[in-house]
């Protein structure tokens, strides 16, 4: 019986979504490769994000110098072949510091997105599936969260929780719950009207099975696209809070605090602010482009 149901489910999905039949899938792959050549921005974005991810996991691949080793002789050197990002006031290699700061920056953003997406999706899923007073209660609560600007909400959370990268990440994540909940809810509302949900229900599947096996997988796409976009937003928010001094403690390198460290050398050593900042800009731009690509891919 369950086997039949899944068959129904699959065919229904293929019918509603505009997916090409399996037989033509090889042709589609070539098509994807060709169309990606016509979109150099997307390819570059994916490559950049891949490089940034490698830097986060294994910073040694890109930067062999110790990010904490001071060399007073080499202090405040402008960018050169040897030090692509220049050196800071203690003669530390800024490129190495930026690369080694990637893990902390991306890790915090990842925690933030995980908190936001998991809690937000759960709220949205329950609200959209259960409907009724629980739905309207939950969504009114989300509306209230949206009435407080996200940065101020995370600042209030940081005031209560205390300082540090993980706490900042959690605060940023909590502030993004409401937006995720709304996307998830609207997706669930869309999916639950589909014929295959009706079929699954008519077939006698229990509600949590319908929710977990049918509603969630089909509603997950836009939420994933949102997650990629939220990741960029989280990188910005985490680095802003670090810049304000609530995140990473120096000398630990982190993108936001690196920019903040360059603040005292404005007018003399531009690279100290420009280089780590550009890294943030490119990373956020790339996540935006990839999330846009994902959206276009779904349409």
């Amino acid at each position: 019986m369950t086997l039949d149901l899944e068959l129904v489910d699959r065919t229904a999905t293929a019918g509603t979504a505009t997916r090409a039949p399996a037989a033509r899938s090889t042709g589609r792959h070539w098509g994807a490769a060709r169309s990606s050549l016509r979109r150099p921005g997307l390819v570059l974005s994916v490559l950049w994000l891949a490089a940034v991810l490698i830097a986060a996991v294994a910073p040694g691949v890109f930067a062999s110098t110790d990010p904490l080793r001071a060399a007073p002789r080499l202090k405040l050197q402008p960018p050169s072949w040897e030090h692509p990002f220049g050196t800071d006031q203690l003669g530390r290699d800024l490129f190495s510091r930026t690369v080694h700061g990637t893990g902390l920056s991306l890790g915090s953003a990842l925690i933030a997105v995980a908190v936001g997406i998991v809690v937000g999706s759960l709220v949205g899923l329950v609200a959209g599936f259960v409907r009724g007073p629980l739905d309207s209660g939950l969504m009114r609560a989300m509306d209230v969260l949206l009435a407080i600007p996200a940065l101020l909400l995370s600042l209030a959370l940081v005031t209560a929780l205390g300082f540090g990268t993980v706490k900042v990440a959690i605060a940023v994540g909590i502030a993004s719950i409401a937006a995720c909940a709304r996307v998830m809810r609207s997706e669930v509302l869309r999916v639950r009207e589909s014929p295959y949900i009706e079929a699954a229900r008519a077939g006698g599947a229990r509600w949590f099975r319908v929710l977990g096996r049918h509603v969630l997988p089909n509603a997950a796409g836009p939420v994933l696209v949102l997650a990629v976009m939220e990741f960029g937003t989280a990188v910005l928010a985490v680095s802003a809070l670090s810049f304000l001094g609530y995140g990473a403690v120096p000398p630990t390198p982190e993108w936001g605090s690196l920019v903040s460290g360059g603040r005292d050398f404005l007018g003399s050593a531009w690279w100290l602010t420009v280089m780590p900042g550009l890294t943030i800009v490119l990373t956020v731009l790339a996540t935006g482009r990839v999330s846009q690509g994902g959206r276009e891919g779904r349409e």
Partner: protein, 317 residues
Amino acid sequence: MTGYLVRRLGQAVVVLWAAWTVAWLVLWALPGDAVEVRLGIEANGVTPEQADALRASMGLDQPWPVQYLTGLGRALTGDLGTSWENGRPVTALLAAGLQATLALTALALLLAVVFGAGIALLATGTRYRRLNRALLNLPPLGVAVPGFWLGLILLEVFSFRLSLFPAIGNEGFASLVLPAVTLAVPTSALIAQLLSRSLQDALDQPWADTARAKGARPSRVLLGHALRNAALPALTITGLIVGQLLSGAVVAETVFSRTGLGRLTASAVTAQDTPVVQGIVLFAALVFVVVNLAVDLLYPLLDRRIVPRAAAKASRP
């Protein structure tokens, strides 16, 4: 109309109460002893009795419901408590910072609307596809640039290299320009994105074809017909934009060493000055609620097709 007004006002009050409650829950009910954090009891050799006395003076020795209701009752009478840092009333601190931040955000809003609408109109109206693409690439860039970094770059270029604007301070209009531009960039990107999409939607409508068929020039169709229709959806994000400007002010005022609400926020968070932070959150929610209320009430006047009852439903975000 009166019934609608009363109901909308009631909703606004409920949202404010809820926002105050959220801030209270976050700031007072989350684990962590504020007194201990503030005094560093063990480090400073404050006796437990003194700490208890301090707790009692802050009302922290009371059970939760009592603390909540006392705080709420005081907030209702306009008393937001006093700063733990300097003992001044929170309302006085907010009032002191309000003017500087209002000037900053107002100029930023003006710049954002001019830039944003300019980009959207130029991108939609141009005949050159390259210009259109180049312009449409600007908003994603504007959203990706961190405010604090942009502020520092502007400082580096326009204050330190070209000496055009003062680097810090509140004096005069010149000190307002760079922070306002910093604040305006992400907001203008948001406006440009939304407006260019709704302009395109408007131009695809049958009435745009009619206007063109009757011989109206493309610029007239764009500025006279499409813009009027496209501007209305943009109004709905006003609340969001004002919130964005307020939170952007935290960073902009810190970077440019200006006084104001943003700077007050940053220093209150650094000092873990709970009553001040709560006052600021409440203020931000108040601004959001008032702006949304104003937009909802203006909407039927700008678009006669909308009757207030329908507006109540449509405006819910």
